[in-house]
């Protein structure tokens, strides 16, 4: 796709036809046995071979026509766009930066009013306040809280990967440590959420240091493998240490968080009762929404502050060049350990929040896929960029939640079609598209943490790893 020949449209068209035919032939060969035939059991338990020529034809046509369109139109269009972009780059950069500057503020304001926006809209739609409250549950919980948990996790992981450049594939382990710390300590000792939240963070940070020590000398892929193993070890311990963790049954009935001692229970003394509001589960959800929003903002604030401090600067220098770092008198051991510990701490906070929200934890919630999703969000958003990561989390998590609602597709593909099964496929496709379209993530720019006269973004074209 790299070659850019748009001078002769006719030859381009012929080339596109040829490539389309080749792609179709390849697809035919590839899918003939996989899609064209299907073995089913009939009523007598015999294996019968079904032929699915129609479906095979769709696959082949999609491949062929897709390749044709790509070669004939998309690639030349992209090339032309890149060409025109280069000429107006300066002008565009100016406009973009004005938009970018105000984007975080607008986004933040929207996040703060989001629950009330949802309630208001639904109340109008349903014609009653109660309808608005109950209807908003799904949007505040499934979308708002769910996305914000991942925003926070990804921002936490961003400290380790985006700033310090340490590839951590076992981040979910710290999430698990936080969740189980809260679950166990609250159910055994009855401690409150507000006491256990910082404790969960501290425990996770300690585990971050425990992980950090053995991997001090590792980098890149070796580090990735060891952290991956660490994540699995924590999960396996949670499964097998049944005396304490109850294994795969998980821990249920975990105490909910309270608002400065006011519980969110129906009846006297509860939040709704005190304020004279009608009973509803939605207050707790809204409370949780603001809680995770504040926790996520704390993560962002700490990240922004640290980047301007010597330790944050040292993390970034460590990502760039470890040897140069050491010869400038920076203790890379403590620098790495603080990065692991800080990142893990926010994972721990998020974990204890997760346990308080679900009221139930089990090792199933802390599988490798979770680490992979958090990592994918960081990479897609652009390593080191808080805004980019938030956008990526909203797109990826919000997107997969939306895919649960694709019931209407049943009308198109028939009743056998289950859209849920395609969530991960679409997730993967979306990731590929983003990586082709923006290989450095949504926001590939690194904003300098120190500047003399005016801010100047470091263009993503130049922010490649390695030496200049």
């Amino acid at each position: 796709m790299a070659d850019v020949q748009t001078s002769n449209p006719e030859s381009n068209f012929a080339k596109a036809v040829k490539e389309g035919l080749v792609a179709a032939a390849l697809a035919l060969g590839l899918f003939l046995l996989i899609v064209g035939f299907r073995t089913d059991q009939n009523i007598r338990n015999e294996l019968v071979l079904n032929q699915r020529w129609g479906l095979l034809a769709i696959f082949v046509l999609v491949a062929g026509i897709g390749r044709f369109l790509l070669t004939a139109y998309v690639t030349p269009w992209n090339a032309a766009r890149a060409l025109s972009k280069r000429t107006v780059a300066a002008k565009e950069a100016k406009e973009q930066s004005a938009f970018r500057k105000s984007f975080p503020k607008i986004g933040l304001a929207l996040l703060f009013v989001y629950p009330f926006l949802v309630i208001g809209t639904l109340a109008l739609y349903n014609g009653s306040m109660m309808g608005g409250l109950q209807g908003s549950l799904k949007y505040v919980d499934n979308f708002g809280i769910q996305i914000l948990i991942y925003v926070m996790l990804a921002w936490g992981l961003n400290i380790v990967i985006g700033l310090a450049g340490l590839l951590d594939l076992g981040y979910v382990a710290f999430y698990a440590v936080g969740a189980y710390s809260y679950a166990l300590l609250s159910s055994h000792f009855g401690l409150s959420f507000w006491l256990l939240l910082p404790m969960a963070g501290i425990f996770a940070a300690l585990w971050g240091i425990v992980l950090g020590f053995p991997v001090l000398r590792l980098r890149g892929d070796y580090l990735a493998i060891v952290t991956l193993a660490f994540g699995e070890i924590i999960r396996l311990v949670l499964i097998n240490w049944t005396v304490v963790t109850k294994g795969t049954f998980g821990i249920s009935g975990i105490a909910k968080a309270t608002l400065f001692g006011i519980p969110f229970t129906p009846g006297p003394g509860g939040f709704a009762n005190l304020l004279g509001l009608p009973n509803s589960g939605v207050y707790y959800k809204i409370f949780l929404y603001y809680l995770i929003l504040l926790l996520a903002l704390l993560t962002a604030w700490v990240t922004i502050r640290l980047r301007r401090m010597p330790i944050g600067r040292a993390w970034e220098a460590l990502r760039e060049d470890e040897i140069a770092c050491r010869s400038l008198g920076i203790n890379t051991t403590t620098t790495k350990l603080t990065a692991f510990a800080t990142g893990a701490m926010f994972g721990g906070f998020a974990g204890s929040f997760f346990a308080a929200r679900q009221g139930f934890v089990s090792p199933e919630s802390f599988v490798f896929l979770e680490s992979a999703i958090i990592l994918a969000i960081v990479v897609l958003g652009g390593m080191g960029s808080l805004v980019g990561i938030a956008i990526a989390a909203a797109v990826m998590i919000g997107g997969t939640e939306l895919l649960r609602e694709l019931e209407f597709l049943k009308h198109i593909f028939g009743n056998d079609f289950t859209p849920e099964l395609y969530r991960m496929l679409l997730f993967g496709l979306a990731m590929i598209v983003v990586m082709v379209w923006k290989p450095r993530g949504f926001v590939g720019n690194r904003e300098p943490s120190a500047f003399l006269h005016k801010r100047k973004l470091v263009s993503s074209e130049f922010t490649k790893e390695g030496h200049g």
Binding site: R313, A314, E320, S327, G329, A450, F451, K464, H467
Partner: protein, 243 residues
């Protein structure tokens, strides 16, 4: 020579990469206020010696003394804290950080206490860096990157400056500028400089004394004038093109 006066003295140092011996019995010293150069061909072990001073890799035997203190087994960052700074091979500036951030990294030993004062001195020495202050390190030209690497080292207020091939890949005019800057620094502040160079002619012209290294062994040493006049040195490093 006068042992007690030496700021840096490397005694009988042997360094290995795995089982391969890179340095054998190297003895080199630099007195306070001197410019000393180590010249030699590709792969002679010049850069290895420089990195060995910083303990990356560590010397397997022998001793490295700095200001009367044995630093052979010291962790790298603590060696740097004794005010030994280096502009390493390949410059190793931080490519995604700006010129200013790179210089700040250099000054991190003193927690930026003397940053404003020192950065002015660096800009006096290399005015080009001032123009590029908000530019990312990786987008600088080779010469500017070299200036940045030296500038970053100077921000640490070093007593000993180690320079590994500052002339590598640079245009003759820029090499001249950088060498003049080194000379100027040495003259005005009395900074001790240990210069590793392939560009033998330029290095010997600049330095007070020189060492010649071949296959990990120091084969010759003496005043720069004498080395420049030495027929063997001339034949091996100087004839066939002055840089």
């Amino acid at each position: 020579m006068a042992e007690n006066k030496a700021l840096l003295s490397i005694e009988n140092v042997e360094t290995y990469y795995g089982n391969i011996r890179a340095l054998s019995g190297v003895t080199v010293h630099a007195d306070a206020g001197e410019i000393v150069t180590l010249i030699g061909a590709n792969g002679a072990g010049k850069s290895t010696l420089m990195m060995t001073i910083f303990g990356m890799p560590r010397a397997r035997s022998g001793r490295i003394m700095f200001d009367g203190k044995d630093i052979t087994q010291l962790p790298t960052h603590e060696i740097a804290r004794l005010r030994i700074a280096q502009s390493p091979e390949g410059r190793r500036i931080f490519p995604r950080m700006t010129v200013q951030e790179n210089l700040q990294m250099g000054a991190s030993l003193d927690k930026l206490e003397y940053f404003d004062e020192d950065v002015r001195k660096v800009f006096d020495l290399f005015p080009r860096l001032k123009e590029r202050i908000n530019q990312r390190g990786g987008t600088l030209s080779g010469g500017e990157q070299q200036m940045l690497a030296i500038g970053r080292a100077l921000m640490a207020r070093p007593r000993l400056l180690l320079l590994d091939e500052p002339s590598l890949g640079l245009a003759p005019l820029i090499i001249k500028h950088i060498f003049e800057a080194i000379k100027e620094l040495n003259k005005t502040t009395g900074l001790t400089v240990f210069l590793v160079e392939q560009n033998a002619f330029g290095a010997l012209k600049l330095a007070d004394r020189g060492y010649v290294m071949v296959n990990g062994i120091v084969t010759m040493s003496g005043a720069s004038k004498d080395l420049l006049a030495n027929p063997e040195v001339r034949a091996a490093y100087l004839e066939g093109g002055r840089h």
